[in-house]
Each structure stands twice: as C-alpha cells, then as structure tokens.
Subunit: 321 residues, 2 copies
C-alpha cells in the first residue's frame, strides 16, 4: 500500500527541512494531513513553512537530534554535506559532517522506536560515470565526487542497521530535482541558477560545452515519491527518482530562453568540472512498479511553473523594497 | 609486467606491518630485495622483522604517518580497524579509526610523490551475502558488517584520488588468509584459533552449525599477490585474492584433526554470528589473467605448514620458560 494519503495524522520529522527539497516535502506532508516537524540549520523560506513545528539545530549536535527525533514516527533524512563539486576539495569534511552524525541518528531512531527512516540519496552522483543509460538501481556505484561516497556509505549503514536492529528504511536516489523553493545562488541546481540569472539580466554560466546530460525531475513529483516510499511495505529499499529522460544543459538553456520569450539570453562558458559525469539518466521502472509512482509533470510545464514561481518571488522582493 | 622481482631496491612502506599479513609481507619484500619500512602500533613477532626499518606509531597520528611516508615509493596499507564482528557494536568507531586517517594518508602520498598505494581490502566482508559464488569483482557490494563498509568507502576514495590527482592504486579483496604469524588469540582467523586451541588441548569453538563456507588462502600466496599488484601497470585496480575454493568450518575442523593425527579433538558449539555471511568463495579469474598469479599452496600442504609453524612456536615458548 503506497497511498501517501495514509500519512494523515502521522508524526513526520524532516531533517534538513529548511532546504529546497525539505521545504517542498514539509508542505506536501502538511497537505496530506501529517503532523510535521522540521529541523535544520536554517530555513530558506520560513514563511513557506507555516504549520511546521520548526527547530533550528545542527545535525552534528547529537543532543539536538535526539530531542528532535523523540516522539517521531517517520524520519526523513535530507541533510547534505557540501556540494558535489566542493566535496572533492575536502572529502574528509564532507564525510565528517554527514556520516558519523547519520550513524548517531540511526542509533537514536532505533532507541526511540522510529518506524522508518527515509534517506535522500543522490542518483546524480552515486553511480559515477554510467556503463549504460538509463541507470538501474543495481548498476555499479563508482562516484567521482566525495559527496557521492558519503551518500553511498550512509546507504550501506542503513541496510546494516536494518539487518542488525530491524530499523526499516527507504533510500531515494534522486536525479536533478528542480522547482519552487530552489535558490539560484548555490552551485547546485542549474535550472534555478539559470532562471535567477536570466531574470536579473546576467549571463547564464555554462560549465564545459553544455553537452552534459542530466535527468531533471520536478520537485512536486520528487516529494510524492518520498511520501510513497515512507508508507511502502514491499521488499525493496532503494529507488531511483528521476524523470527517466535526459536533457543537455544546452537544451535547458534553449527551453528557458523559449519559455521566457525575451529573445536571446546572454551566456558565458566556464571550464568543465571534474565532478561532473558526462551523462546521468535514471531508470525508473522499479519505483513505477513498486510505489505506483510516475513523474506527472511534463518537462515544459514543470519549467513554466518554476519560472512563474521565480517571477513571483522577484516581484514580491521588489514590492517589499 | 608483474614480476615481483622488479621490487628489488625499491622503497616500500608497510603500514600495519606488525600484524599477520604485514609481517609476512615485510618478510617477502625483503626476500625480493626491496628496502622495507614498517609502521604500526606494535609487532606481533618483532624477531621476524629483522632487516625492516621499523617505526612504532599510530595510523591516526597524521604527523607520524607523514614522516613514515616521506621518501617511500610504494605504500602498502594494511591497517584495519576493529574486527568484522565487533565493528557492528560500534560502526562509528570502526569508521573513525580507518577512513579519515586513510584520507589523510592519500593526501600525504600525493604530496610526497608516492607512486602507488596498495590497499588490503576484504573479499570476505565487502560483498556481503553473495547472489552467486564464486564472487567476481563486479558483484554487488552489500556488507553486513561495518568493517566491510569502511573498506568499501576507502576503495571509493582510492578511485576518486586516482581520478582527481593521478595517485595510482591497487585494491586486493582478500578472502580468508591463513598461515604463519597469525595469532590464534583474536576472533579473526579461525584456522589459527583452531590450531592454537588444539595444541593447548582446549575445545575448538565452532560458531553456528559450522556449515558456513569460507575461501581459505595461504598467506605466502597472498603476499605474492600483493607484491605483484604493486608492479602491475594494466587497466584494473580491484582484484580478488582467494583460493577460489570453498571449505566449511566443519571441514577445516576435520582436516586439522586429521593432519594433527591425535584422534578426536574436543569441540564446543557457539551461537552463530550476525556478521557471518553463509558462504564466501572468490572468483580469481581476473587476478590470474592480469597479474599472472595463482595460489600455489594446496590446502593440505598450507595447513601442514601452518600447524608446523604453531608447533615450533609452542616448543620455543616452552624452551624459553
């Protein structure tokens, strides 16, 4: 049974609830009637989290995490460390801020009687350079970013805790989510960055030749997949979450240009990044079959909704000035 | 070219050089004419390491590791954390004592101009419960012991450092090595433990029903595989090292009984261990093809050599008393 409506009334804790995916997930869980708690260092859009019982805290603070977990039924772990690119500058740091705190979290969840931990892994980095696309969940995992190695280690510890202690879990290997509440100011999230720059009249930065291919999936679909995985009771634990279709960065550029309809957008080419795999497209047959999930937003309508959201945000900022 | 004789005159550092594999490796490298440095917390058999430039130090001490690495051409990383079983009692500790110090080691090796790092991984734990035997190097890696997760993370960081910084590496996924210089007092190494107890007249402890199957490989062959991997220049980096044959614990018991030839040995059954996979036999086709290596010791002659070594040790201890 993977009807997300069955989350109604259940106590859900979203760790990293103030970020892009977290904000969308908290809102979706509220909409489903769940009791939603959020925890994180900060909220990008606090006004979007009305109705969420929010605690500001650091994932590396064991006591704060233990307090947040107490009484929660389902724990959604969306806390990331650094970004794929910057993680390679200091792999030790990326490891330290993600893996040991997660091991502590699992201990706490077990002792508190949490029924399931749902982990946001990275379908974009965990496989590394694919031997074939679309990439299935049983493909080799050879990350070329320390970020993906930390995610992989956490996945293995989740499986170990389940085996040793019975703590149930789901792992969502997400492709490249995009949509409202993503900020265009970090180096992750090319669509948000493109839209943000286009609206400011700044040139869009294209890394390498722009021919790297990514699997962009609309955030509304992503949070629905996360919610379904929380109530799933079948034998699988690891699910790809993507659109299942590849688009090049150049194509994204052209489509944003076309949706915005303001003529040619300025762009600037930057050198390629070592942590970028040339292509990443996820096979989503397993999640379609097991969770009854499929991406409902088509590419252009998702892109339009995202652009609309950015325009509204900009206008609100201007009106407030 | 994978002739280990080409190690002659080359400066080799063996981290964890005082343990079972380390002692055997140091001796083999000396025999090949290499300049051998050893580093570790302690030496189980200091008298066996004559000719090795030894430094006592902790792998977690960055300055000590940096000093040991300076001037070394080839670095053999044999440092383990806890044991497979005990690692599950404290996964954080197993991670902390192995992975961050290894990341530091890789940085130091890169800056010092080390030409290759050779890492002792665990073919016995990294795969977890196999989907098929014998297990090839491309099989799924689903460890059921935290020990194996730490090894897996280190493997991924080695590949990452190679990609980002060009530091060459080899990974040896070793099955269950046995032979001289293994002590029967730790909970790893069932053959040494059996022989030790048999010689003392104590009952041999059998975990579970004794039907778990392992791939026992003679240490003389293991160190030859390690040495060959250090001089290998082909495209592969990950090699299984095993005998390629499975033997149950009960069969090992019977064979030790038969080689010792003192009649029935006493035994006691203990409950099975959660970190024990039911079967582990490695496919060694890749290492045979790429390194020209194959296990030369047959099972019974390896077992006899090991028993002889334990008897000599016991007699020497008695004579010294």
């Amino acid at each position: 049974m993977t009807d997300p409506a069955s989350l109604k009334g259940r106590c859900c804790l979203v760790l990293g609830g103030g970020g892009f995916i977290g904000t969308n997930l908290c809102r979706y869980l509220l909409q489903l009637g769940a009791e939603v708690r959020g925890f994180g260092r900060s909220r990008s859009f606090p006004e979007a989290l009305t109705g969420v019982a929010w605690t500001t805290g650091d994932f590396a603070d064991p006591a704060a995490v233990a307090r947040a977990v107490a009484g929660s039924e389902l724990v959604f772990h969306l806390v990331g460390g650094s970004l794929p690119e910057s993680s390679n500058l200091d792999p030790s740091d990326d490891l330290a801020v993600t893996v040991p705190p997660t091991l502590h979290l699992l201990e706490v969840c077990r002792r508190s009687g949490v029924s399931k931990v749902i982990f946001a892994s990275s379908g974009g980095t965990i496989y590394g350079i694919p031997v074939a696309v679309p990439i299935t969940e049983v493909s080799p995992t050879e990350p070329i970013a320390a970020y993906g190695i930390s995610k992989l280690a956490i996945e293995k510890y989740l499986a170990l805790h389940h085996r040793l202690h019975g703590l149930d879990y789901a792992i969502l290997r997400m492709a490249n989510p995009f949509g409202p509440y993503q900020t265009g100011l970090r180096r992750q999230g090319v669509i948000a960055a493109f839209i943000e720059r286009a609206l400011r009249g700044e040139p869009l930065e294209i890394w390498g030749d722009g021919e790297v291919v990514r699997d962009f999936v609309y955030i509304g679909d992503v949070v629905d997949a996360i919610a379904r995985s929380a109530v799933y009771r079948g034998p699988h634990h690891v699910f790809n979450v993507g659109h299942g279709t590849g688009r090049s960065i150049n194509q994204v550029f052209r489509d944003i240009e076309s949706v915005l309809d303001r003529g040619a957008l300025p762009k600037v080419n930057k050198s390629g990044r070592l942590a970028d795999v040339p292509v990443n497209v996820l096979d989503i047959a397993l999640i379609e079959r097991e969770l009854g999930w499929r991406p409902r937003a088509n590419w252009l309508s998702g892109l339009r909704a995202t652009i609309d959201w950015f325009v509204i945000q900009r206008d609100a900022r201007r009106a407030a000035q």
